[in-house]
């Protein structure tokens, strides 16, 4: 498997939606290709960082405005 083929499957791999044979091939590639390992590992880390971040709290006055707008409809 070439690096470009690995990258092509990266998203499916991270999401766990690939068949067993492809998974074995990908993991085999990962075991010897340090670059792809790093890309895969840091991509996963990045997704987790974004997912865990509470970037934006909803302002309470927006909630109040929204509620009264719905009530007047």
């Amino acid at each position: 498997m070439k690096c470009s083929e690995f990258l092509h499957e990266l998203t499916n791999y991270l999401d766990g939606v690939i068949d067993e044979t492809t998974k074995v091939e990908l993991e085999n590639h990962l075991s010897w290709c340090h670059n792809c390992y790093v890309v895969c590992d840091t991509t996963k880390k990045k997704i987790e960082i974004y997912r865990d971040s509470q970037l934006y709290e909803l302002p309470e006055d927006l909630r109040t405005r929204l509620r009264s707008a719905i009530m007047t409809k």
Partner: protein
């Protein structure tokens, strides 16, 4: 390497019960739906519009539209997916109004295959997020995602931040599943590369690498 698990949302049946009650005119049921999803809609809107005031407008308009069109909701998808579609459309409309010189659409920014290939391979430090304060992290994450074209960041936010499935994202954005997958891959790789500038291992030594 473990795969990434999607966030589990509230039980679907419960959502449907609320939707049906709201359709019958039970406003408190609709309010409960608002409470359940307003933060998610706000986050999506902020990521797409990159502007707090616009995002507040989008939240308001999206929920009002959902409320006004509730009878048209066919219950073939989750209510949340339907709501996200409305919110994304509102947010993209805001962007279009702001950038009339350029049409903003989800179909733009198709690049050649090579664009998504990583150029920067350097590894990150073990716990990159601990190098920064929470406020700095917020700034970094928001700045990084801002650099992505709208079509990429919308897919990334729905799939990876909000945890929608590929199929739900495709339905919400009216894109094909392969289109979602290809955008997601590019968005993930581009973001990884951009974040790497902040999170890379600090090499000691000659400093040129």
């Amino acid at each position: 390497m473990e795969t990434i698990q999607n966030k589990v949302e509230g039980p679907v049946t419960d959502e449907l019960t609320l939707v049906r009650a709201a359709k019958q005119g039970d406003d408190s049921a609709f309010e409960e739906l608002v409470r359940r999803y307003d933060r998610n809609v706000f986050r999506i809107a902020q990521h797409i519009t990159q502007n707090r005031e616009d995002a507040e407008d989008v939240v308001q308009e999206a929920f009002l539209k959902a409320y006004g069109n509730l009878q048209k909701f066919q219950e073939q998808s989750k209510f949340y997916t339907w709501l996200v579609r409305i919110a994304v459309n509102e947010a993209l409309m805001k962007l279009r109004r702001k950038k009339p010189e350029r049409t903003v659409s989800l179909d733009e920014d198709i690049k050649t295959e090579d664009d998504s290939l990583p150029r920067e391979i350097a590894d990150w430090s073990p716990n990159p997020e601990q190098q920064y304060t929470q406020a700095e992290m917020r700034e970094i994450l928001s700045k990084t995602i801002q650099g992505l074209p709208p079509g990429f960041r919308t897919v990334f936010v729905l799939r990876d931040v909000e945890g929608l499935s590929t199929e739900e994202t495709a339905a919400a954005l009216e894109l094909s599943v392969p289109a979602v997958k290809s955008r997601l891959l590019r968005a993930r790789l581009q973001l990884r590369e951009r974040l790497g500038r902040y999170f890379q291992k600090r090499e000691s030594g000659d400093g040129n690498q």
